[in-house]
Amino acid sequence: MMLIHVNKYDTPECETLAETAKKSIRTPDSLGLDRCIQCGACTASCPAARFTDYSPRQLVKRVLENDRSVLEDESIWSCFYCYSCNLRCPRNNSPVTIVQVLRQMAINEGIGLERLAYFVEIGEYLAENGASKIPGPGVRNMERDLGESWIEFKRDLESIRAELGLKPRDIRDTGSEVRAILEGTGFFEREKWIRAGGRGNVSALSHSASPETVNRETASHETPQCGV
């Protein structure tokens, strides 16, 4: 089973990776993918390339060669979405938006869902409150990183907002419109797919997302201390 039905605008079904990338709504119409001269300006500007083995120039090459194994390559998850490559490419190519398409294609095949599980509660929170938040596992990791002063600040957020003359909570008056939109676009089907780990393989959720996340929260378990 594939999730393509919810995601057909990001990942239109085409003969080649390059065609899908060009037709995707994630990439600009003017995408200069075929004009890439493999100059490496993208990789030279890339923060991920500076500190890891990741290379946007290589990824673009593999897309042009229609090498579908790129979807299973861990490195597609290293991009910061900083758009430095987008700014610097002399051929109007945009590795950053191509990587977004590759990740969506991987997701359709059930790859990387454990990463999405970390963020998945943002969807329901947006439907309910009209706003986004740092997801639960992120809050708990930040509590560990930032300690008591941050936890205290989060507990005091309401009174600080009042002191600043702002409305009590960052919850917006969106009626039920945002929920209706998420229903209409099929987001909740996607959410179920992510929570089930794709292909009904729920156990995928218990794997840690990457070696770096050992000892760190990877999905929702306990309630954060700061109550957010």
Binding site: Y9, F80, Y81, Q104, L164, L166, I181, T185
Partner: protein, 314 residues
């Protein structure tokens, strides 16, 4: 290039940002304070939802959901008569601008979004081609502040002379829609020009000036070591340049620099003397705002007290 003369000061919808609201609410109150004193006509609308940026760039939301949420916010902005969406967060800015372009140029997506609105009985949200203009309806608050730089210079109550400062312009402001930036996207100087008008001694170029903050959406959470290495590279370079005040324009960068500077100090065994502030907080302070009741510095992780005392703000 976006000419600064074209930045409006009327009918601005000050677009609420979830990360501002939850982490640094003082950015919103301080920007409002500055706008009030600079004669900017703006409105905050509680019906506006979040842009979806956090979910969009962690790959959780697909593009159709992001476009539909944006179309709803465009209807909210038009309905209240404040169609110039003005963002505090660079990602809200890029997401909205891109969604507008998509809705104007891709009839299939526009029709799909409108059919969802109609099916759900929300006909008043329907988006017609050209309802919003990606070039003239979307701004970042820093552009509005820069358009008022002369007024800021004339009305400043606090002088930042002798303060060595540097700017970090947010990636999603100048690297996404890079042809539509005030100034040169290879060397944006909006924050520098505003701060210099308040007397600050700006380090206008430093090594890695255009390096991203390191947050990288999922990167801070899932590839934390790499994320902090990127942030550290920038903080090191500011230290080498002797910068004591770093000014930014996006709550995500702000989290990365302000919240994580002490974490980096501890984990990498380094020390930094740099303090952090959003440019809206800086302008409000210059115009006489209270550091706590308006600028909300009590929500920061790197304490500003020593700095504020030295410049006479406390």
């Amino acid at each position: 290039m976006k000419p600064i003369e074209n930045v409006p000061d009327r009918k601005l919808l000050l677009f609420k940002s979830c990360m501002v609201s939850q982490e640094y609410p003082g950015i919103e109150s301080a920007t409002g304070y500055a706008f009030d004193r600079l004669g900017v006509d703006y409105f905050v609308n509680e019906e506006q939802s979040c842009c979806t940026g956090i979910g969009h760039y962690t790959d959780l939301f697909e593009g159709l959901t992001t476009a539909a949420i944006a179309a709803r916010n465009f209807a909210v902005a038009r309905r209240c008569g404040y169609p110039n969406i003005t963002c505090l967060c660079s990602t809200c800015y890029a997401v909205n601008k891109e969604a507008c372009e998509l809705l104007n140029t891709n009839a299939e997506v526009r029709e799909k979004v409108n059919s969802i609105f109609r099916e759900q009985g929300m006909d008043d949200l329907v988006y017609e081609k050209g309802d919003m203009d990606p070039r003239s309806n979307f701004y970042h608050a820093v552009e509005v502040l820069l358009s008022k730089v002369d007024l800021i210079r004339e009305n400043k109550q606090l002088d930042f002379s002798g303060v060595k400062a540097a700017a970090h312009h947010a990636c999603h402001y100048y690297k996404v829609k890079y042809q539509d930036v005030v100034g040169n996207p290879e060397n944006p100087q909006l924050i520098d020009d505003i701060a210099a008008a308040c007397g600050a001694d700006m380090v206008r170029w430093y090594e890695d000036r255009t390096l991203t903050c390191g947050m990288g959406f999922s990167q801070l959470h899932l590839n934390r070591n790499t994320s902090l290495q990127v942030t550290k590279a920038k903080l090191d370079s500011l230290k080498n340049a002797g910068v004591e005040l770093m000014l930014h324009m996006c709550p995500n960068c702000h989290i990365q620099y302000d919240r994580y500077q002490p974490v980096i100090e501890k984990e990498f065994g380094v020390e930094y003397d740099t303090v952090h502030m959003n440019i809206g907080q800086f302008v409000a302070l210059a115009l006489g705002a209270d550091p706590y009741e308006v600028c909300g510095f009590q929500t920061h992780s790197v304490p500003l007290e020593g700095f504020l005392e030295r410049i006479g703000a406390l």
